[in-house]
Assembly symmetry: C2
Homo-oligomer: 211 residues x 2
DNA sequence: CTATTAAATTGACCATGGTCAATTAAAGGA
DNA sequence: TCCTTTAATTGACCATGGTCAATTTAATAG
């Protein structure tokens, strides 16, 4: 009530934003943690695709409605869990020394690519969440993509690569080829080549064109 | 029965394929046509996302089960309708003269890109179906992607572009940048640039690098 | 024309994600 | 300690895609 009254004369938009600032009870955090833990448990046992909201709330000992009070929908929780995992891979990438060649780059990217394509379902979620249509919808996965671009830009600083275009474009291109390569992994018509054999030539051609 | 008996001693795999060869009644085609027409009607009135199986079978005058006897699932029908539309755009692209510059190329690609991103839902379906995991699952959209690559390769024949890598790779790259550009159109963080302003620089950098 | 066989259709039923009015529990002031 | 307010939870209920045993209809052999 206090928060509400203090802000009541502010603009509607500001007020909308501040609604988030309502006091959060301790049990909320516990409930949320239980839900996430239950989901992760299911995933570790049966994979991402096998996760069912019914099963999550059963294991967490809550009602179904509680799940949706904590997460907008099932996929929002997937975004959280997958995004967290992606961030772990990015952490690993950051503490390694920057790759100096395109094939080193592929090697460094490999663990992340492997995870992103560990299940068709996971890759679909990643694609869907990599760009959120509205700012409010931006989730963890969307932010990891921005982070990837930043990491690529740092790599590019310490290596000889094409200078005819700005680093942002180069970094975005690396990303585009990563996606393309992973998509083809699932493609029955084109999955004969490994990620390594495909991404390598792409990156070489993109980063060090020999015209 | 005739077909079945004749082939009964063949290998299991061959037999599986030949199951498709069962005699098809005329009414089947009519029913199928009614279902597709009903779906297209809904789509033209309310968009792709608004299509409901219940509504389709209601308009087509069939039972729900009939729908799934004709299409593996709802998305298989979407694949059909969207894929058909993509092919129309590819037809248009083929009868035009090949673009000679990257900006001409963007202009030629624009109508297709606009359609593919006319709805978030449509783009999601296209991404999901662009690579089918199993050969049996390959649908129209998956084949249109192969067709796109072929068209790109023809374009590349009649124009000065980098020769340091094979045409297949170049064509696949065009495709990768198309996807990247369209994905960013839906991204709240990066949708300020138009498709034209983004795809142009990508293609220029990819097709005519100035090292 | 009838019987037989297989194709096509049906609709009751299920699986699962998601909603919301009603209820319960926590937090803070008097 | 009690009261008020609001946060949190609940579970019956809904929406929609999808299944399948039972039934109807078409095709064809005799």
């Amino acid at each position: 009530m206090t928060v509400v009254n203090i802000l009541f004369d502010q603009s509607q938009i500001f007020w909308q934003k501040q609604k988030m600032a309502k006091t959060i009870q301790k049990r909320t955090l516990k409930t949320r943690a239980r839900l996430i833990a239950a989901a992760k448990e299911i995933i570790s046992q049966n994979g991402f695709e096998a996760m069912r909201v019914e099963e999550v709330v059963l294991r967490a000992g809550t009602a179904k409605g509680t799940f949706f009070a904590h997460f907008k929908d099932k996929d929002a929780l997937m975004d959280l869990i997958i995004g967290e995992k992606i961030n772990e891979y990015l952490d690993q990438m950051e503490i390694q020394t920057s790759p100096k060649t395109s094939s080193q780059m592929v090697k460094t990217l490999m663990p992340l690519c492997e995870f992103m394509t560990c299940e068709r379902y996971v890759f679909d979620i990643i694609l869907r969440y990599s760009g959120a249509t509205r700012i409010e919808e931006i989730g963890i996965i969307a932010t990891t993509f921005g982070r990837q671009i930043e990491i690529f830009k740092i790599w590019l600083e310490s290596v000889e690569f094409r200078k005819d275009i700005e680093a942002d474009i180069v970094a975005e291109g690396i990303h585009a080829f990563m996606i393309q390569t992973m998509a083809l992994k699932f493609c029955a018509l084109h999955n004969s080549k490994s990620i390594n054999d495909r991404l390598g030539p792409y990156l070489k051609a993109w980063l060090s064109p020999e015209c």
